[in-house]
Amino acid sequence: MKFIDEFRDKEIAEGLIQRIRNNSSRPIQLMEVCGTHTVSIFRYGIRGLLPDHIRLLSGPGCPVCVTPNEDIDLAIALSRQKDVIIATFGDMMKVPGSTSSLQKEKAEGRDIRIIYSSLEALKIAKENPGRRVVFLAIGFETTSPTIAVAILRAKNENLHNLFFLNSQKRVPPALLALLQTKRIKIDGLILPGHVSTIIGTIPYQFIAREFGRPAVITGFEPLDILQGIWMLVKQIEENRATIEVQYRRVVHEEGNPIALSKIGEVFEKDESRWRGLGLIPDTGYRFKESYKEMDVRNFEVDVEPSREHPECVCGEVLQGIKTPLECRLFKRVCHPENPIGPCMVSIEGTCHTYFKFS
């Protein structure tokens, strides 16, 4: 078993689609929270296979997209300091800040390096003892433990030139904020499989308990997604609301306790600013006292005042309130070669996915 091809079987998919069609009687809106789900749903044409009365909405689950302009501007300002090396995941390069982007800064000669793993930032810091290395710590709970490991190692190895621009986000409290706004009708949630690999099922219980909505933690192959939708349809038809797991091969109730303990050693929860959603309690992390010296926000650096393109509707796209097709900039001015907002930059951004597949 390779755990990929088996979950792409066409005949089983057809049977599942038929089952969804036969058992779904009422109009419903389901939100896929995770950008990786959005990409899979478009890649496999899942929207077109569902009956018209089941509508899928894309949610705020793209870490690059929800990173506020202030943090991009701070990264750009830091990159202009002569002794600084920026280490970043590739997705962040093209994200437009208020007046520049990391890609433009790199073309101007700034030392900005694309890395694949947080441990590479550690390596760069060791190889450049005379310079300050700033890792752009972007990501949800899937990525946070990997960032925590890099911080713990840096501390253990007495590395004093590695710093972190911490813009990590926590998913469950953001879903709480989204459900509380009531700006959009959500009948069920397709929950992110890999975030849940780390955090488990318990942090989502409020969705069923307080909002009476069903939710299913779902994998990313087409059969996973179809089964997740089927499980939601079944709960809705039976007037049930519980948190179920479709992605049982990697998601357990308790999550990954080792990963959670690494996060807990280094960070404590804090409010965080999300593009489009604003400042939300408990949706971010701050450094615990013993690790504060690695926080780049202690640096003295002039950052330009932050501003966004007035016509970009990224914020509303992230909440499922608008689709990219309702944006005046989409495809006309804003496209992957010239992204105006971050939802067009990230390969998991809703606008990028719409552009690529529609």
């Binding site: 078993m1 089952r19 950008g35 990525t143 433990p145 490991v149």
Partner: protein, 72 residues
């Protein structure tokens, strides 16, 4: 960004595993998932194994899916 890929553990040396991902060998940190053995599959995210892939659960899911599809 929350991309995770399954791969088969080929070799383990201290806290790093060589993992076969679609025919390519990658070094993967086992800091977050130390309790794995050669021959098992792990889910990889940004160079870290973040969970073991449970083959029994995968088989059960596939069996359930087949039943759901066949009884239509």
């Amino acid at each position: 960004m929350c991309l995770g890929i399954p791969g088969k553990v080929i070799e383990i040396e201290k806290d790093v595993a060589k993992v076969d991902v679609g025919g390519l060998l990658r070094d993967v940190s086992l800091d977050l998932c130390p309790d794995v053995s050669v021959g098992e599959y792990v889910l990889i995210h940004t160079g870290f194994a973040i969970q073991k892939v449970d083959e029994e659960e995968a088989k059960e899911t596939l069996e359930l899916l087949r039943q759901l599809a066949e009884t239509m």
